[in-house]
Symmetry: C2
Subunit: 278 residues, 2 copies
């Protein structure tokens, strides 16, 4: 079925997402935080991980992509950028709009869909944005604009990283992370994973991004979530639950860090990654 | 403050507990189930672990013990017996009454409080009971009945166990388990644990019981929850997150298994334990 291009630019109503401290903690455990980062997993002095921003964005994202007739279960999550304007509350209701910013015709590669979600607190105060890029490989060649060429962001060749963090993912990381909302069976169902060409269920890309953001938070933000202003990454490889993630970052000045996330075997799983830190 | 003995025998109204598949899965992960026991952590063919029965019992238990002026944060959980009448639904509302059955005066050892909770489904069909014994060490010597002497249940001396299962608890097992409801800071707050005389936060006794029940389920119930008719244990030792649990059981005929749970260093953490299997 052809994509519904008319939906481009049409913003949804604000969609509410109500949550409590338990939900914040569940997310933190889902992206590998633990008691050695107590403020992220205990309600006493609770802090919200910046990448929690991806959770309230999920419903508006699904609404606009389904509306545009994107084959969501078969679409591939390519890129995500989270821009943070303020501290994320530890509970309450967040209101998020979604809009398709552009659909590019990458011919045989498929259609690239760019979605923007904008989230505000109960008083209309902006909290964060998500910029999400997915590809629907079955929807190319619709005669549309090819879109701009995007340059990859690479670490400086041969330079030692300014930080290097290693995290082991848990063998049940995917089973835990999905309780934060993304129930795509690719991440739990062995049969479904095999049909998708994987050996077994894979970790959510946004879960890996959560691990990477923790590494940045602990390495260059002194554990203070509000110091992370933005984080972006391209999902370039599959992570299996139990894999070890190696996150390295290089300062490029003015609080900007190019970073890269590899698995234990050296495969880059998050490429073209940039964090902005205050 | 003296205990309110008048509350003995006074049953609460049925207290509702509403839950969904996510809650069931969260509990299963909390007691160490993982994707190798997929039916317990994936909604497709979801099964509910029998010890999930302890969760809806928690509010009624708190209501009657607080009503009796038991110093709940300082009370020690001594024993729990769960009796199962039918399959626990994977979602819905369960209605549970609570009643104090007896309060025994163990003199300087404190007051022993026996609580019974009874849970039914939305149609009034009995699902399970919890028999909970706690001790309030500050409340003895009130001039009451000492209560019956209870014999310890021990494995047959020198006999090889009929099953032997080893489970590693996760370093964040307590942080995950507490999301199922028991927020006692002893299980997450290092300061609180130190005040309580522990090196660090300890695992919930009911979490350890959940691990033990999984061992029984997988060893002698062919993974079918309805085959477990009852499980009871005495909490005899502290478990730290990350400890290894060794669960061994001995058949004593007619589907009865005496079992015992030790940590890696041989300390018995669940003693006087009995499971009845159909």
């Amino acid at each position: 079925m052809a994509l519904n291009l008319d939906l481009i630019g049409q913003k949804t109503e604000p969609i509410p997402f109500t949550y409590d401290a338990d939900r914040v903690i569940l997310y933190a455990l889902g992206v590998g935080a633990g008691v050695e980062e107590l403020d992220f997993v205990y309600e006493k002095n609770l802090k919200v991980l910046p990448t929690f921003a991806a959770i309230p964005a999920s419903l508006p994202f699904l609404k606009v992509t389904k509306g545009a007739r994107v084959n969501v279960p078969k679409a591939l999550h390519m890129e995500q950028k989270i821009v943070l304007f303020d501290r994320i509350p530890t509970s309450g209701t967040i209101f998020t709009t979604g809009v398709i910013k552009a659909i590019y015709d990458k011919r045989d590669k498929g259609a690239f869909i760019n979605v923007l979600t904008e989230s505000k607190d109960e008083n209309g105060h902006p909290l964060f944005e998500n910029h999400v890029a997915v590809v629907d490989r079955s929807a190319g060649n619709f005669g549309g604009d090819r879109g701009p060429k995007v340059e990859a962001i690479n670490p400086p060749e041969g330079a030692r990283p300014d930080f290097h963090v290693q995290y082991a993912t848990w063998s049940n990381q995917h089973a835990l992370y999905r309780l934060s909302g993304d129930k795509n069976p690719l991440h739990i169902d062995p049969e479904f994973a095999r049909i998708g060409g994987m050996d077994r269920p894979i970790l959510h890309g946004l879960c890996t991004l959560g691990f990477a953001a923790r590494a940045i938070l602990h390495s260059v933000c002194g554990n203070e979530p509000t110091r992370l202003k933005s984080i972006s990454a391209r999902f370039t490889g599959v992570v299996y639950p139990g894999d070890i993630l190696v996150i390295e970052g290089w300062s490029s000045g003015q609080g900007r860090y190019v970073f890269q996330t590899k698995t234990q075997d050296g495969r880059i799983v998050l490429g073209s990654s940039l964090a902005e830190v205050a």
